[in-house]
Symmetry: C2
Subunit: 240 residues, 2 copies
Amino acid sequence: MRKSIRKYATRPVDDALLNDLLEQAERTQTMGNLQLYSVVVTRSEEKKRALAPAHFNQPMVTQAPVVLTFCADYHRTTEWALRRQGHPGYDNLLSYQNAATDALLFCQRFCDLAEAAGLGLCFLGTTVYNPLSIIETLELPELVMPVATITLGWPDENPKPSERLPLSAIRHDETYQPITEETIQRDYAAKEALPENQEFVRINGTQTLAQIFTDIRYKATDCRAMSETLREALKRQKFL
Amino acid sequence: MRKSIRKYATRPVDDALLNDLLEQAERTQTMGNLQLYSVVVTRSEEKKRALAPAHFNQPMVTQAPVVLTFCADYHRTTEWALRRQGHPGYDNLLSYQNAATDALLFCQRFCDLAEAAGLGLCFLGTTVYNPLSIIETLELPELVMPVATITLGWPDENPKPSERLPLSAIRHDETYQPITEETIQRDYAAKEALPENQEFVRINGTQTLAQIFTDIRYKATDCRAMSETLREALKRQKFL
């Protein structure tokens, strides 16, 4: 059962293995078979240190042998089309959505393949919080936008998998079923009752588990401020 | 090797199998373990017919035994938080990006599991082209946005896998490497030389393969118009 790995052995990740996994991942479905993505491989200490602040200096970024930044990429396709008498026009939100989708599907497929090969990884959602600094560090041109980062290596820990909501929380039949007091209770009671989540509440000094997310980790004011940063980055990369 | 399946046998997709695959897919990495996604399962003929126009009436939508619409979903989490004295504020672009990421990772993981179980599927990128009609048909509340659709069933065809670009096209080391005349030639020449792609060019009456995409299938004017529709849908769902 998969789980995020944040501690890695010193054993290096062989480049031939990495290439093999990336090539296999290329089989993932992609819009019009255009492969609107690219991946930047970071192995150098210098670049890892440069990336770390964008990821709130989480130690995995400098400790992992490899950091992969998955990018929505309409630049390469645009450059191809320009050299082939085409008239590309992908400087818009829909094109960003399409390329980000391609990149995320490719990323998830890569993660599955890497885990099946015994590697461990951690997905960093922080990528879209501070995209400007990542864009600079990796020298991403216009129409290339980082959307996901993973740290990769051979596992040096074996954490307990985190819990998940029951299927009733996420599955709807024919139409979206209303969320009610009853469905919330049905779907969240077990999660809230877990000893580790009760401890999590105690450590954070909140009254409820939900408050840790809404009042501390993903606060409205922070989300709005980071939305502006994201918008700025999308403008800079010419997707807005 | 995976490939899109557009023709399905009449054999139904057992609901217990579907649940099992969805539950396994729930192990996918997710932001803060919040699972910011939901999936709407369409089996009824009526709803399939209602969804079809949004997908340009591609025949798979009505022919497949099951259609799955994967949604970025901050509604359920918001409703949970409101009942737990939280202060959710996810009516913004960053929150959409986070939830869409969660939904797409979950979707890709589900696809892999379904294919491993022998099922066939086709990913419909059209979901984000006409989101308003999908939102209405599936009765999606605010903070729920459809981001991906797959048609699912037992395969009744065995198509040839489509080609992919060489790894050199998508892999960059340390920094994004410039796209030049030479890299375009290196990465696209084989694709352009394939007999099926030359035939594709002939049928479409273009001079180059790239022109099929930039001048016919994903034209600048269409992308811009659909960007406006996407923006409208995101506004209606309160993510903008």
